[in-house]
Structure formats: structure tokens, C-alpha cells
Symmetry: C2
Subunit: 299 residues, 2 copies
Amino acid sequence: PLSLQSWNRNPRPACYVWRCQSMKYEKHFNFVMSICCSNNICSFQFVCVGGSPWRMKSFIEYMASILAMEDPKAEYPNICAGTDRYAMYKIGPVLSVSHGMGIPSISIMLHELIKLLHHAHCTNVTIFRIGTSGGIGLEPGTVVITKQSVDANFLPKFEQVILGKTVLRNTDLDSNLAEELLECSKELNQFKTVIGNTMCTMDFYEGQARLDGAFCSYTEKDKQEYLHNAQKLVFRIYKMFLVLYFYSCAAAVVCVTFLDRLKGDQLTSSHEVLDGYQQQPQTLVGHYIKKHLSDKKDS
Amino acid sequence: PLSLQSWNRNPRPACYVWRCQSMKYEKHFNFVMSICCSNNICSFQFVCVGGSPWRMKSFIEYMASILAMEDPKAEYPNICAGTDRYAMYKIGPVLSVSHGMGIPSISIMLHELIKLLHHAHCTNVTIFRIGTSGGIGLEPGTVVITKQSVDANFLPKFEQVILGKTVLRNTDLDSNLAEELLECSKELNQFKTVIGNTMCTMDFYEGQARLDGAFCSYTEKDKQEYLHNAQKLVFRIYKMFLVLYFYSCAAAVVCVTFLDRLKGDQLTSSHEVLDGYQQQPQTLVGHYIKKHLSDKKDS
């Protein structure tokens, strides 16, 4: 009963194979696949994902305003109403999806999102991950566009265990897309943006050398040594989005740093300042999307 | 500025060390630590965690009814209102917290929950993880109490990377608690319950040998071979709660199987049947809690 299908962004080669069992997918555990039929999402060109449901709703409201598609009466309902695992919002060609925290959580969402886009016959989709993170040696409020992801040993690889065997995945991101986003930031001229490497760990506390978790078996000196070694290779440290680039096709990770981990583990900026920071990735990605839609209209 | 403190369940030795920086914890990223002051949670004896916010709210409503603490007007608000990462509910001595999906997500919640319990001077707390899972060679609807967790290579260990070094964690759960829960199930006599090993993976699709993810590089035959090897050691396969037992002190994992993975990857039972299944772990844990509170009152 299995048929082989591929889903890939033109003009990349069809490097991923996808086994399809027709619409049995609708019965999936965590995602409401049927929305691809009922909500006619065939026109999506941009998908933006992030951890928090609230932030992804706020992104859709922001996109509605800058694309001048705002309806004062619009409520932007969660179109994943059948589950409380993820939330999904849409406006015009933009889909916004929350993915929770950590690689396993985002991995489930991406598997099911890609199947959904496939069923909806969406092609040429660009995926963005927006969010916040800790930085290493960067001024808080700096936006980082990820060039490459490294693991906790600073190696540019992601290990996946499939049928008990370790499979290594490439961790390079789309460099053209990263450069285009950096160009957008220059046009905006509102905040500092850099392209840098990102460390990806499986744990927020001990995995990122924090001293303030429930358990901690190392000292401030051990932490500083580890982070200074990391600084030679990476700009910021985070933990959750590694799978994004090998599952998807054209993808970028755009995060703002909330603190410099060399100086501490706790947030010291005010709520208002942090709120301003977290709007920066959505401002940058919003500018990119608006620009690409205008270019398309002009051509 | 660091002081060393320990949090452990009597009469176990103080095996975990916790660095404390006084109430700076209230500023934490993902959890509202201040509720431990404002909501007076010092009396908690039982903490129940699970993936879905909806299920954890439903558990508190169920506990209110069986402990006869139900107020018809009660609304059981989410006491973690400051974040949309987790949801938390309480009734009497019972705290119910959602943890999202996957080890990184549950790990953050447990770090912050344990700090919260510490600040609230809670001791002798028992932690339960309730949920659903896939089974291997078990009739759907069977409740499994985890004895030991194994990794994707069937080894009883959990690898954590701290400061770039791999640290191995023990994966045994509290066997007395597991036996007590099995005894509770016999008293209830409503559904089949077994004690068994649990496989813990980092990925729901390829990590658990599913054929229906967006990407799949193996065949049905490869999958069957892998799952039959797993069956020799484990009763069920799941992915997210491994960290529970080494972070916490007295802990049990109680999950109901929704399907037999040897027979397929998709759910075939009706929504009503699955809804009945998912109530079983909460019925079992609820019975245990009620029994222990009655024993305490009698003594």
C-alpha cells in the first residue's frame, strides 16, 4: 500500500523520500492534517515557526498590518483547534506555527507540517524560525541569523538515531537566504544583525552550562571555560531548531539574544526592553516577506 | 554568591546538589516561580505531569471529584498564567503540570518545578507522569507502569552532554512505587495493567521506526525487525519522559498504549475508545493518591 513521493523546493534535487499512505494521515496523533483541505492553504509561500503560541499569533497580526491585509474585525483564530500541542495561524500567503520547546517537539511539528504542505500542493515554500536565545559575547538585543549549527562539542553535525543506528545530518543553512536577510536588516537600519554559528543542545540548564538549574555539578570557572571555548566558534547558544534545515528546503533561523551568557544566566533587562527585542526577528522576517511579495507583483 | 543546597525525598540520601542564588529564580525564562509564594503551594504531596495542558486540567477536575473537594462553581484556573509554555493546576495536595513534548521540554519544566517545590519547602513529594504511548505486542488499552527505560539501542542508560562531556544517567524507576501502583490496578479491576520496560527516543517518526513521517529511509521489513528486537526487552515505545526519574526522587511513569506498533503506525480505534483509554492512567494514579491520603488520615 506504500507509494514513494518526493517533496522538494525547486530547483533543488529531490533528496528526500516520503512514504505516503494517502489520507490516513488525517488520523495523526498531534496535528490536524485535515485543515489542508478545509482551509485551502494551497497558496502558502512563507511559513514562520517559533516556540510560543502567543508569539506566533502576534506574528500573524503583525504580518496582517504590514501587508495591509488587516481587517479591524479579524480575530485570527487558531486553525489547529483540534489539538493543544501546537497552534497555527494564517494570513494571505503566510502560515505561522508554534512548535513548543526542544528538538523532539519541533521535529514532530515539521514532519507533519511538511506532509500538510505536500497534500496542499505547496511548492517553493520558505521556512523561517523566529525566536529568542542566549548570546555569547554579543550585546543583548543583537539579532543573529544562523550560518551553521554546532553540537555541544562544537562540531557541525546533528546525530539522529534511526533503527538504533546513528545517522549524521548536515547542519548548514541556506547561505543566500541568510545574506538576503542581512541585507534586509541594513535596509531597516533599526537594530544590529549578524550572521553567526549557533550551538544546539538537548538541555537548557546543564546542557547550556547554566548554574541556576535544579542540579549543577560544575563551577562558575568550568562554565566560563566552556563558554569561552564556544565563543571561538559560535555567536549564540540555543537548543531547539537544529532539525529545521535538513527537514525543510529553504530555511533560515533568526533569533534575538536576550542576554550575554558570559555575564550571567538570568535576564537583567526590563520586561519592556525584552518585549522590544523579541519583536526584532519578526520585523526582519516581515520586511523580507513584504519585499518578496512586492518584487513578485512588480515582475 | 552561590550556596549549596539539597532537595531530596526522605529517607533517600541527599544525592543531588542544587546551587541556589536566592530569589533571583523568580526571573526565570519559562516558568512563573513566584507562584510558590503567591499561591501557597507548600502542602503539595503529589505532582502529576503530562504532555497536554488539556489533559492536566482534566486530571485536576477528576482529582477534585474523587477527593470530594469539588466546588460546582470552581474553574481551576491555570496558575502559570504568566507563560504559554506550560500550564499548571492545583487542588488540595495535588499539583498538575503540563510539560509539552520531548525530553528537552520536560527537562526545563522539571528543573523549574523542583526549584519551585524547594522554595515552597515541599518534602516527601511523589511525582507521576501520566500519558499515552505506542505499545509493542500489547493489546491497545493496556496500562504500562515503567520499570526501566532503555535507549534506541535497547541499553538501560540516558546520555546527557554537560560542558561537552557525556554523562551517563541511571534509568531505573522506583520499584516499590511501581508495585504499589500495580496493586492499585488489581483493586480497581477495570483495565489490564503491566510493569514493563520503556524505550525512550528523541524522535517520534524516524526515531520510533514509523513509516508515515515526512521522511523515511527504511522499509516495513526493517521496521518489523527493529521492533521485534525491541519486543524482547521492552513492552512499549515512547519518547519523552526519561529524565523524570533522575531529576525527581520518588517517581512513576504510567501510560496507556493506544496501538500495537507491530500492527501499524496509525491509530485505528475510534475517538470514544481512545478517550476511554486515556482516562485509565489518571484513574490509576487518582486511586493511589486517594488511598494514600485515606491511610494518612486513618493513622
